[in-house]
Symmetry: C2
Subunit: 185 residues, 2 copies
DNA sequence: TAGATTCGGAACCATTTGGTTCCTAATATT
DNA sequence: AATATTAGGAACCAAATGGTTCCGAATCTA
């Protein structure tokens, strides 16, 4: 009955995620965003509300792709040591400077945007659950409370690592550190 | 010979530090900055270069005030337990949402601005030295290398705490956690 | 008193901002 | 073939952006 949409909403949001991830919200202007999404102004405003809403959608996209993949990697890891699974979260990225989108959003927008804060908190919780799952499977920690504590500790280290990584080299030997923290050394 | 400057450069930079600390670089426009510094456009451009340079000056001001005060607090702490000194770095601020200026600068600007990266790295190093000083005084750790390792661990936790704190409540019991990490429990 | 430099403020600049409205051509369904 | 909705692109908008220049008045030193 009508001409179908030529561009893929999901692909466009992936482009939005990537530019927001790399540049942040404020530093990304509309031309940047349109280029990354492969859209013109007309199509953009017909399909989406505004820049802020697309940013929220981009966070959801990050959750559905990067976070989900990370959790899946943790779940499917068959290394005997928990630290050998968790190390994947700390491995240097080919694109270290963009860091972690959750961390970037927490720092730049969460204090002033409750919707962003809700999403970043939810994603952080998912990561924490994934970490704790790894600990449970390998019987790390003396109790459930202790595993919660260790999982939260690793989560904090992860965000600290992501923040510091944006400002230069993080020389930390995370393999050794994780083993020590989890009592696997 | 000439009319002296009526405003205090140092006080103006303190105002700049506070607005950049709370809002970030991009989110702070010139009217915001002028208001925070108590200056008009004319005076501003006569006394300073531009917004970016004032941001760098604000980072220096943070180093000279907040970071220096933190180090001094750590050095002068006479609690017998190292964790009871380091806990001060993790105590909830009355203004938690602005977080830590170093962390904010690392995430927002360091990847694209080498001058910012150099300053944040230098301040992070100072904090780490202060932490390690606390450990040394109380004979925490089996060796110098081990103290370096523990200090770097606490530093990562600090930045993770600062990042996550901006997005909501950090429920962590840092007193207990620090004691556990440092073997003081 | 004369000279120098500050002050606050207004005015101005080109550019960019987010946002909106057109238009014609294309392409699907019924 | 008729209808509906998309596409891409141009044009436009008011507002805000960072940045600069000028002004008369004030205030210090020499």
């Amino acid at each position: 009955m009508a001409r179908p949409r030529e561009f893929d909403i999901s692909r466009a949001l992936t482009g939005a995620m990537e530019i927001f991830w790399r540049q942040g919200f404020k530093a990304t202007n509309l031309p940047d965003l349109l280029k990354a999404m492969g859209l013109t102004r007309g199509s953009f405003y017909k399909a989406f509300d505004d820049k802020e809403n697309v940013y929220l959608d981009a966070l959801d996209k990050y959750d559905a792709t990067v976070v989900t993949k990370t959790l899946s990697t943790l779940e499917n890891c068959d290394a005997p040591l928990a630290s050998d699974c968790l190390i994947k979260m700390f491995e240097p990225s080919t694109d270290a400077k963009r860091g972690c989108f959750i961390c970037n959003a927490m720092v730049e927008l969460a204090p002033d945007n409750p919707q962003v804060a809700a999403k970043t908190n939810a994603m952080a919780d998912r990561l924490k659950s994934g970490i704790i799952g790894v600990l449970e499977k390998r019987n790390i920690g003396q109790s459930s409370d202790h595993r919660q504590e260790l999982g939260d500790l690793v989560l904090h280290l992860y965000f600290g690592h992501q923040a510091m990584g944006k400002s230069g080299v993080d020389e930390t030997d995370w393999s050794t550190r994780l083993k020590r923290i989890l009592g696997e050394d």
